[in-house]
């Protein structure tokens, strides 16, 4: 399966992009020339200075600023690099939590059936009925702004997707002969559910999860943009965009780079997710 994945063009690109971002996040301390909240003050250096790259002929007496300075004299490049850490954490943590809870709920619903199934899945339907960002805004408004609350909100709104995926795969295998055989051998319900049935839903969950990371990063960035997520001076990409939204015309680099960072990250995870789906789908075997 991995070979199939590696042969898939979009998966290749996705994998390269995501690995690069993961590496950036891990080695942010080494890559970033400055701390994310450090002000660079030098005579003649104005805030919101455009990028200054020595290789491209920028005056060597000036400090090298790959992406320029932001409104508070901070190196935008360092902030974007540190931002990758936050975005990945947000993506993995929220998706991880959502998968955990969603899988559990979906598995119980699918396996138990009857009214339990009904209750769980109707609640999931209600959650799905709201646009996810709107629901997240509502949750954050109740909990108060902040990064942790944003994580919670984004995690909660992405639960139903996984619950559905897992439930459908549980339903499709629970009446199969090998399950009946297992039951006849005296295996407990929990054992059957977790060891015999759930592994079947692993593949679709991984695919949904990879795509889910992209959505989670976008949602969290959206919340921060609105001032409900990460609080300054945290280098969160969405927050950086939101703070500088008035600079689109007079200092475009301030919105361009964080925006591009979000775009590339989301693109990477989406490509990887698509590739995974193609590679794991038996019907699409080349």
């Amino acid at each position: 399966m991995i070979r199939r994945l590696l042969r898939n063009r979009s998966a290749q690109v996705g994998l390269i992009i995501t690995s690069l971002i993961v590496l950036t996040a891990i080695f942010a301390d080494i890559i970033a020339p400055y701390a994310y909240d450090q002000q660079i003050r030098q005579p003649g250096l104005r805030r919101r200075s455009p990028p200054c790259i020595h290789l491209l002929g920028c005056d060597r007496n000036k400090p090298q600023l790959l992406m320029g300075l932001d409104s508070n004299f901070r190196d935008l490049f360092s902030r974007v690099v540190y931002g990758s850490r936050l975005s990945l954490q947000i993506g993995f943590l929220t998706t991880g939590a959502a998968i955990l809870i969603g899988t559990l709920l979906g598995a119980i619903a699918g396996y138990a059936g009857g009214w339990i199934d009904n209750i769980i899945m109707r609640v999931m339907d209600v959650l799905l009925a709201f646009p996810s960002l709107l629901l997240a805004i509502a949750i954050v408004s109740v909990l108060g702004p902040g990064l942790i609350n944003t994580l919670l909100a984004v995690a909660i709104v992405s639960i139903p997707v996984y619950a559905r995926v897992v439930r459908s795969s549980v339903l499709s295998v629970k009446e199969m002969d090998y399950i009946t055989a297992s039951r006849a051998l005296g295996a407990s319900s929990a054992r059957i559910l977790f060891l015999r049935i759930l592994p079947n839903s692993l593949t679709p969950t991984i695919v949904a999860g990879t795509l889910g990371i992209a959505t989670a990063i976008l949602d969290a960035a959206g919340l921060s943009f609105l001032g409900l997520g990460a609080q300054p001076p945290t280098p969160e990409w969405g927050l950086m965009l939101g703070e500088e939204r008035n600079s689109v015309f007079n200092a475009p680099h301030l919105v361009f780079f964080p925006g591009v960072a979000i775009m590339i990250t989301v693109l990477g995870f989406n490509l990887l997710g698509d590739g995974l789906r193609d590679a794991m789908d038996p019907r699409r075997r080349v």
Binding site: D37, Q39, R47, R48, S71, N72, F73, P145, G227, Q231, P232, P233, E243, R245, N246, S247, V248, F249, N250, A251
Partner: protein, 511 residues
């Protein structure tokens, strides 16, 4: 003929009586001399409403905002909440009629958005040009920039009843730890100056250049915090994300302050609040550490100092009695030298107590399309849409926030005043582009020698939008609704009538 009178002058306010002498004469009697009374009464909070209309609505801000009735050149056509306010010219207006039949007030929080509206021709005028956009506007031949003089103050406020700011040393340490020069140099547009006192230096009295504010000294700040046992302090800084002449870059300045305080070992959490909720919370004395400012209503020290440090104001916590006494001294005479002497002492005390840190007097600018005749900027009062004459049927103005209501007696916010000022009028008003008063609903006015009795002769034949005619009883009813807490129309939006209490002290029959 109506008359409202306080039994004596010991109830805590400075208004003694308001009386309709005859159909077109109103007399205000004050408990103490007030040289600034004409300026005060010209404020948009004291716009005159029809007495019958006021009784019908019970002075309820919500009802009045639905269908406001004033005497102004424009009447309300429609307020699409969250979108726009449309005015249409009032045909029976007593003075020069509005130059443009329709005026539209819109709002957008984003400076870039406002500028785009202006450049694309969707707006004829915009408020608060972004500090980085001054040049853009000036280079564009289709636009013109009108700079507004810096008659304002941006300050960092503390509440002396909320820990850790109940400790004088902490506030003083913050005063030493903030580099005001750096803030103004880096984040303010041209025309801005570092504040030495709370009152702008352009005013006749109130500023004390010989009592300069604490010099930036982070070492001393650290020592003070250590002495107070408040090292590694964690505080929350609140502000509203609304652009004002005194604070053109709220978010960025908040982060600069965060960065500066980090250098003296204070960890600052930044919290943005919704504008109306934030102001209410500050007024109620619930914000510990906040960014706020003040734009002049009239060019006198009383407007800055008395409003903020008077006995009624809770925004800095417990008022300082010695400052209150000195303010009373400064406001009770017209002798400039005596007043300045009192204000010098006030500034000494402000420097010692540090209820706030005065940071900057901010320069700002409005921008108009070049073809708008009558385009102006007023230093202390709201814009007058009626004189704006673009070569089109509609004048569209985009400001930076939505008005809170259309009954300004119980409001204190500049955006709301802009909306009210087109509909309502006051006894006196500010001349366009200046801070001098001129007759409006009152044709003339006079005072007795010791400035305690002010008599206004009303203009005959002024019509309200509902067809009623203005008489002295309307004036008394309007004022009584604010002044007398037992008046059935004393309701408003929150019932705080901030300008009344700031200018004239306590309510009559206060509970």
């Amino acid at each position: 003929m109506m008359k409202v009178e306080a039994p004596d002058c010991n109830y805590g306010g400075t208004m003694k009586a308001i009386e309709a002498v005859d159909e077109l004469t109103v007399k205000f009697t004050l408990c103490s001399p007030d040289p600034a009374f004409p300026y005060k009464i010209a404020g948009d909070s004291f716009a005159i409403l029809d007495a019958d209309y006021l009784n019908e609505t019970g002075g309820d801000s919500n009802k009045i905002s639905e269908a406001p009735v004033g005497t102004g050149p424009y009447k309300l056509k429609e307020w699409k909440r969250g979108e726009s306010i449309t005015y249409e010219a009032f045909a029976d207006y007593w003075g020069e009629k509005a130059k443009t039949p329709t005026a539209v007030l819109r709002w957008s929080k984003e400076a870039a958005q406002r500028l785009l509206e202006l450049q694309s021709g969707n707006a004829d005028g915009i408020s608060n040009v972004g500090p980085d956009d001054f040049e853009t506007v000036e280079k564009d031949s289709g636009l013109k920039l009108i700079e507004v003089p810096a008659a304002n103050i941006f300050y960092i406020g503390f509440n002396n009843t909320i820990p850790p700011f109940d400790d004088d040393r902490v506030r003083l340490a913050f005063a030493y730890g903030i580099d005001r020069q750096r803030i103004v140099d880096d984040y303010y547009p041209r025309g801005s100056v570092v504040a030495t006192s709370f009152v702008p230096t352009s005013f006749a009295v109130g500023a004390s250049p010989n009592v300069p504010w604490h010099e930036y000294n982070p070492e001393k700040a650290k020592e003070l915090l250590k002495e107070a046992g408040k090292e590694n302090l964690e505080v929350t800084l609140t502000y509203r994300d609304v652009v004002r002449g005194y604070l053109p870059n709220p978010g960025v300045v908040a982060q600069e302050i965060q960065a500066q305080l980090k250098e003296i070992g204070v960890n600052v959490k930044i919290e943005v609040k919704e504008s109306g909720a934030f102001l209410d919370s500050v007024t109620a004395g619930k914000e510990a550490f906040y960014l706020l400012g003040w734009g002049a209503d009239y060019p006198d020290a009383t407007n800055f100092l008395d409003y903020h440090f008077g006995p009624e104001n809770k925004q800095f916590g417990k008022p300082y009695d010695d400052i209150v006494a000195l303010l009373k001294e400064g406001a009770s005479t017209a002798d400039l030298a005596k007043r300045q002497a009192a204000y010098d002492k006030v500034n000494e005390l402000l420097k010692r107590y540090v209820p706030m840190i005065p940071v900057a007097h901010g320069g700002s600018a409005l921008a108009y399309r070049a073809d708008v005749e009558g385009a102006h900027a007023n230093p202390v009062s709201a814009l007058v849409f009626a004189v704006m004459a673009p070569p089109r049927d509609t004048f569209v103005y985009v400001q930076n926030a939505e008005p809170i209501s259309l009954y300004c007696a119980d409001e204190s916010d500049g955006e709301t005043f802009t909306a009210c000022a087109q509909i309502y009028e006051t006894l006196l008003r500010f001349k366009l582009g200046t801070a001098e008063v001129e007759p409006a609903l009152a044709e003339s006015y006079e005072s007795n020698a010791d400035l305690t009795e002010w008599t206004f002769k009303l203009r005959p034949g002024v019509k309200f939008h509902n067809g009623a005619t203005l008489d002295a009883n309307d004036v008394v009813a309007t004022m009584a609704a604010q002044w007398d807490a037992k008046n059935p129309n004393h309701k408003g939006r929150t019932g705080s009538f901030e300008y009344w209490t700031a200018y004239f002290g306590s309510f009559l029959n206060a509970p």
